[in-house]
């Protein structure tokens, strides 16, 4: 019952955020309607980062506590984070093409995001290639920790590199200001997407937990 209420809340928040993106936010001066994809693009990136941060913490907790639920949380969060990152990588080019005439520009943030995507795809791939659940959890936890520690380094190196070899910057650089109306819509969007993330992670976690419990039951049956 609680889950259905939460699901309904998420749908409402998403609906409101979508409405606000199209009808409440003012139209941007130079880019027109296509700019509204920004309200999907940027919050998705932040939410994805929250998901990966959750994975990192879960990885640490698994390594030091060895409780299965941290492994379940880590994989759930990573998968959902990956989905949001994919949204970022798709909305980027969709926005870029009408405005710049090109699909991809190796813009610093987009490039960092792409590397992040690669890292977490590797993390999930690693998991599919180890069968023993404990080894899988431990090995992927350590890799996940390394991957997360790499993220700021990736970010920094790409940014420095890009300041020396400038390319067109999507979504405006750090200096561009945001209309206060736009900021509010951005916030709505962020809250909506964050609640979607929490919902999805919980669903995925419960699936993983069910699998774990089925395994435990099977073990008890064998032991008896």
């Amino acid at each position: 019952m609680k889950r259905n209420v939460f699901a309904l809340l998420v749908v409402l928040l998403l609906g409101w955020a979508a409405y606000a993106s199209f009808f409440v936010a003012p139209t941007e001066n130079t880019m027109g309607v296509i700019q509204r994809i920004f309200y999907l693009h940027m919050p998705s990136a932040i939410v994805a980062f929250c998901a990966f941060l959750t994975t990192f913490v879960a990885n640490l907790l698994y390594v030091f506590r060895r409780q299965n639920r941290w492994d379940w949380l880590a994989v759930s969060s990573a998968e959902v984070g990956l989905a949001f990152i994919t949204v970022v990588l798709i909305t980027g080019p969709i926005w870029a093409h009408p405005v710049w005439g090109i699909w991809w520009t190796w813009d610093a943030r987009l490039t960092s995001t792409f590397v992040l995507w690669l890292l977490y795809v590797s993390y999930l791939l690693l998991r599919t290639l180890i069968e023993d659940p404990h080894r899988r959890a431990l090995a992927s936890a350590v890799y996940g920790i390394f991957a997360f520690l790499d993220v700021p380094l990736v970010h920094m190196s790409i940014r420095w590199w890009r300041t020396q070899h400038p390319q067109p910057v999507l979504m405006g650089g750090p200096g561009t200001g945001l209309d206060s109306q736009m900021k509010i819509v951005l916030l709505y969007s962020f809250i909506a997407l964050l609640s979607l993330m929490i919902f999805l992670v919980r669903q995925r976690y419960e699936l993983e937990a069910l699998r774990g419990q089925a395994d435990a039951l099977r073990r008890e049956a064998e032991a008896a």
């Binding site: 069968e131 023993d132 404990h134 395994d215 099977r218 073990r219 064998e222 032991a223």
Partner: protein, 233 residues
């Protein structure tokens, strides 16, 4: 070949190990008194190797505990006082017999590494092949070198997983004599056997594992031969 200290005892409590869905060890509990020489019997897959690897500190139990001496095997450096012979040789094929022994002697902080290595090469009859690469050794010679490696640091607890593998009849006699000497010099022995009578004769106690559980223990009255179901070779 005296022990570097008093022999160590071993105690396991509700020890459990599972791999995915497979239960290799199901809550075993028993105690081995310091100085005992225990023979462990059981079919393939009964859990002997799993148990020995946990006792050596290489594998972590999924539940329960195992103590060697007074220390928990998970956490401490009591492993440095344990000698282990596994299924695989644990030797570097690209190094000579002497280099292998020197490596492990140095790692374990043995002061007279070269001398100790020579002693053991002499004991195992490999002194003439000390400068040959292990790659060129027969299975029997590798097994003897592996046993030499396990005895390097004069351990207080010896764990042997089917130590007779690859040894011919004279080799087994030599091993039995060595184990007897080691036992009498003050070292606890736990060895898994597959029915070699000569080695079983060294044992002061026998246990049998079946499907991860302790099925028989000679300390409860049954004879060693009956527990091991020894067949003469």
């Amino acid at each position: 070949m005296t022990s570097a200290g008093a022999p160590l005892g071993l105690r396991c409590n509700n020890l459990e190990k599972r791999f995915g869905n497979f239960m290799a060890l199901r809550r075993i509990s028993f105690e081995i008194v310091p100085g005992e020489a225990v023979a462990l019997a059981g079919h393939n897959g009964s859990g002997k190797t799993t148990f020995l690897r946990i006792a050596a500190g290489l594998s972590r139990p999924t539940a329960g505990s195992l103590h060697v001496g007074s220390e928990d095997i998970i956490t401490t450096a009591v492993r440095m006082r344990i000698g282990f012979v596994a299924h695989q040789t644990m030797l570097y094929d690209e190094l000579t017999a002497e280099e292998n022994l020197l490596l492990f002697a140095r790692l374990q902080g043995i002061a007279t590494a070269a001398q100790r290595a020579s002693e053991l090469l002499q004991e195992t009859g490999l002194i003439d092949r000390r400068r040959s690469l292990v790659r060129t050794f027969s299975r029997g010679m590798r097994q003897r070198l592996t046993i030499a490696r396990a005895l390097l640091h004069a351990p207080a607890l010896l764990l042997f997983d089917e130590p007779g593998t690859g040894l011919d009849a004279p080799g087994i006699s030599w091993l039995a004599a060595t184990l007897l000497r080691v036992r009498d010099a003050g070292c606890t022995i736990l060895m898994s056997l597959h029915g070699q009578a000569e080695l079983a004769a060294v044992a002061t106690r026998a246990m049998r594992l079946e499907a991860g559980s302790l099925a028989a223990d000679s300390s409860s009255g049954e004879s060693i031969e009956s527990v091991l179901r020894v067949r003469e070779r």
